[in-house]
């Protein structure tokens, strides 16, 4: 074995063993283990085979309506997804205005990607762009600005992935500061503020999102003066944001409780006021501690956006469901399965991406102070 004089960087390498020994140790260590392996193997083969068989071998790839998918023994009905792709992505957003949605996506990515990658300078300006400039631009781009030559597009026409992303992003953007405020309020020494926060958080966490959405959809209009009316999408957004804020508040509270007393006292000793103490000393440490929890809340929120279909806002799942159940042209035994697999894949992609990003960020931000 050659001596390697170069010190190797990175984590220590595992003892390497041969493939045969690895298989022996990990798959056929004992009789029971071998039986398990054989079971697992046949199950995996069956699973992979059925997926490949359904999605590729027996699948229908061409056709302009459901007739091709109606033949006996056909698998996935992909033309359904291909033909409705634009509907699934943008809902009934006018075709000639779709560039505005795409432009919004590009603007969002232009801010988000450099913000998410460490090592890129100007995080402060990027944050200001994402939190202040971008929302204003996005609002006018998506809803329209007559004075700028952009025709109005009512939110009734929005749908599909666009609505999913709008609800999720606005929900995240609104619930994050709200959640922090609630968490701080719950830790406050002022009894009235503390009990208000506890009441709100525990109430919202005790009821299902469906009832919160019902509340937002049928009770909010009653609360407002007669001449004020709310857009249906806006009502859904309020419901989702309030719901998510309560969960986020508990996550942030966990982080606040993990900060040692000494940090608070040191800040007090330096003569910092409450906003300075929290903003400069406590919150940066607390939020870093609970990154996994925050991302989990966001993933939950992203999945929860699908519930808005119950109050008649058509997000990705809602519009796929509508395409499956109410379009007779595409009716076939496999249309439903194909649509759901497509929607599931899109949701999975976003949620899994977020969870991977958080795991990666966690290791990067680890300053070695845990344990």
């Amino acid at each position: 074995m050659a001596v390697n004089s170069e010190p190797r960087k990175g984590p220590p390498q595992r003892n390497s063993i041969g493939i045969a020994q690895w298989v022996q140790e990990n798959l056929f260590g004992s009789v029971g283990n071998s039986i398990l392996t054989l079971f697992g193997l046949s199950f995996s083969v069956w699973l992979v085979w059925s997926v490949v068989d359904w999605a590729i071998l027996r699948a229908v790839f061409t056709g302009s309506d459901g007739s091709a998918c109606r033949i006996e023994g056909a698998g996935a009905c992909w033309p359904f997804v291909v033909h409705k792709f634009q509907l699934f992505m943008y809902g009934r957003y006018p075709v000639e205005e779709i560039w505005r949605v795409n432009l919004t996506y590009v603007l969002a990515l232009a801010g988000l990607i450099p913000l998410m990658l460490p090592g890129i300078p100007g995080k402060l300006w990027l944050s200001i762009y994402m939190l202040v400039v971008f929302p204003v631009i996005a609002f006018f781009l998506l809803t329209g600005a007559e004075w700028f030559g952009l025709p109005n597009v009512e939110t009734e026409k929005w749908g599909g992935l666009l609505v999913t992303l709008v609800v999720a992003c606005v929900g995240i953007a609104a619930s994050f500061p709200l959640g922090i405020i609630l968490a701080l309020a719950r830790r406050s020494e002022l009894p009235l503020i503390k009990w208000l926060a506890i009441f709100f958080i525990e109430f919202v966490r005790g009821v299902p999102l469906v009832t919160v959405l019902f509340f937002a959809s049928v009770m909010l209009p009653l609360f407002l003066p007669e001449n004020v009316t709310f857009d249906k999408l806006l009502r859904a957004l309020i419901g989702v944001a309030l719901f998510s804020a309560a969960y986020l508040a508990e996550v942030v509270r966990g982080g606040l409780q993990a900060i040692p007393r000494g940090q608070f006292e040191a800040a007090d000793a330096l003569g910092l006021g409450y906003p300075q103490k929290m903003g400069f000393i406590v919150l940066p440490q607390a939020l870093k501690l609970v990154i996994p929890g925050i991302v989990n809340s966001f993933i939950a929120l992203f999945k929860d956006t699908s519930l808005v279909l119950i109050i008649g806002v058509f997000d990705l799942l809602g519009i796929v469901q509508q395409g499956i159940s109410s379009d007779a042209k595409w009716f076939s035994p496999q249309t439903a399965a194909t649509g759901y697999v497509f929607a599931a894949f899109v949701f999975w992609l976003f949620c899994f991406g977020m969870s991977r990003y958080s795991a990666w960020l966690e290791t990067r931000l680890d300053t070695g102070h845990k344990n």
Binding site: G40, L222, A336, A337
Partner: protein, 400 residues
């Protein structure tokens, strides 16, 4: 501060206005007063607007509507219900349906979740990988999507009642649900029940005796065989002695539908399957982290004492892991109960679907209906967490 260097009492010091402005106590009081004023104004204007809006739309208020005739049918009822009964009765039917799916779902999700969580830690690479694929897939898909997939993608594509799938034990599966023979208990059932109760009591007695002997002498007598004899044999003898008072009503193919037998609605199956599979993925992760939280030394010590793998798991690891597992597990149970409200999307007659859906549409009394619905879930959450806290306290006490 109590000590020799006690500051002079505030009453003796004259205080200027700026002292009050910078006094944290005064500031706190002023801030709270402002918040209280704001709250009163906010709530007051909401109530005022609501009353005005309700009057303008001619909607009644109060809870009198609960005594009115419901006038709609419910597809699954655990208690007697007809459409001539009141809204209050419909509410009860919906509530029971919610509880049914929640309890069965919690039971199944716990079993599946523990299985997959333990499988994920298996030394067998293939089994561990399959378990993590399951977890990573199902955790990242909305539960509503899974409900739809099971309901519209699988159950609604089953054959029509005319050519139902035949299952063992004279059960049938078709697009209207799962049909299986309904047991009909005849006279003398009480003898069988008596046998069952006596058998159970005997097993409990046996267990305590064996436990006492174990504590006193260190010898653990085997209770499995006599316990099995008591719990199976005794009721069986009673059953035969009573003259086998059990008959079955089998589902029979009618012209358009199967008649007779017990039916499990497809909506119930879909809701149960969706909730179970989704929640199980989360429970599996909780179980895994709980087991990993048990120190390695515990396993090694148990192995050094000569316990085999099953005993190490059952007697050493799981009891300690439970302490870590129970609090987040409670959260998952609550989530499952709350997620059961997704039933409204596939038409399972749960509380939200019956009460906040149909009753709300018929009466328009949004405020009362939504308030009642929310309070029920709040109460359920409260009860579940109380129970789990009690259970948690019991498990935690084992620690020395």
């Amino acid at each position: 501060m109590k000590g020799p260097s006690k500051p002079p009492s505030p009453a003796k010091v004259s205080r200027s206005l700026s002292d009050y402005v910078y006094d944290p106590k005064t500031r706190g009081l002023v801030l709270q007063a402002l918040v209280a004023l704001l709250l009163v104004w906010f709530v007051g204007s909401i109530i005022e607007n609501t009353i005005r809006n309700l009057e303008a739309q001619g909607i009644a208020s109060g809870f009198d509507f609960l005594d009115n005739t419901a006038g709609f049918d419910i597809s699954q009822t655990l208690i007697a219900y007809t459409n001539t009964m009141t809204y209050a009765r419909a509410f009860l039917v919906g509530l029971l349906n919610t509880l049914l799916v929640a309890v069965v779902g919690i039971f199944l999700a716990t079993i599946v979740g523990f299985g997959i969580g333990i499988a994920r830690l298996s030394g067998n690479w293939l089994v561990a990988t399959l378990a993590s694929v399951y977890i990573e897939t199902l955790r990242n898909i909305p539960p509503l999507l899974m409900l739809f997939a099971v309901y519209f993608g699988v159950l609604k594509t089953l054959p029509s009642p005319r050519d139902s799938l035949e299952l063992p034990l004279s059960s049938y599966l078709n697009t209207r649900g799962l049909y299986f023979p309904a047991p009909i208990w005849g006279d003398g059932t009480w003898l069988f029940l008596l046998g069952l109760v006596a058998g159970l009591g005997g097993v409990v007695l046996l267990y305590f005796r064996a436990r006492r002997k174990f504590i006193l002498t260190g010898q653990a007598p085997s209770v499995a065989v006599p316990a099995a004899g008591l719990i199976i044999g005794l009721p069986l003898v009673a059953f035969v002695a009573a003259g086998s008072p059990l008959a079955f009503e089998y589902p029979v193919a009618g012209r358009f539908n199967l008649k007779g037998g017990l039916v499990v609605q497809p909506e119930f199956i879909a809701l149960l399957a969706g909730l179970t599979l989704y929640t199980a993925a989360f429970i599996a992760e909780i179980v895994r982290s709980g087991i990993l939280a048990v120190h390695k030394g515990q396993r090694e010590a148990a192995a050094a004492l000569g316990l085999h793998q099953g005993q190490i798991m059952r007697l050493v690891v799981i009891p300690q892991a439970l302490r870590v597992i129970i609090p987040p597990l409670t959260n998952q149970y609550l989530n499952l109960t709350k997620n059961s409200s997704l039933a409204v999307a596939i038409g399972y007659p749960d509380l939200v679907s019956v009460f906040a859906g149909t009753v709300l549409n018929q009466t328009n009394q949004a405020v009362e209906v939504i308030l009642i619905t929310m309070s029920v879930y709040l109460l359920l959450s409260l009860l579940t967490s109380l129970f789990m806290n009690w259970f948690n306290a019991r498990v935690a006490l084992v620690e020395r």
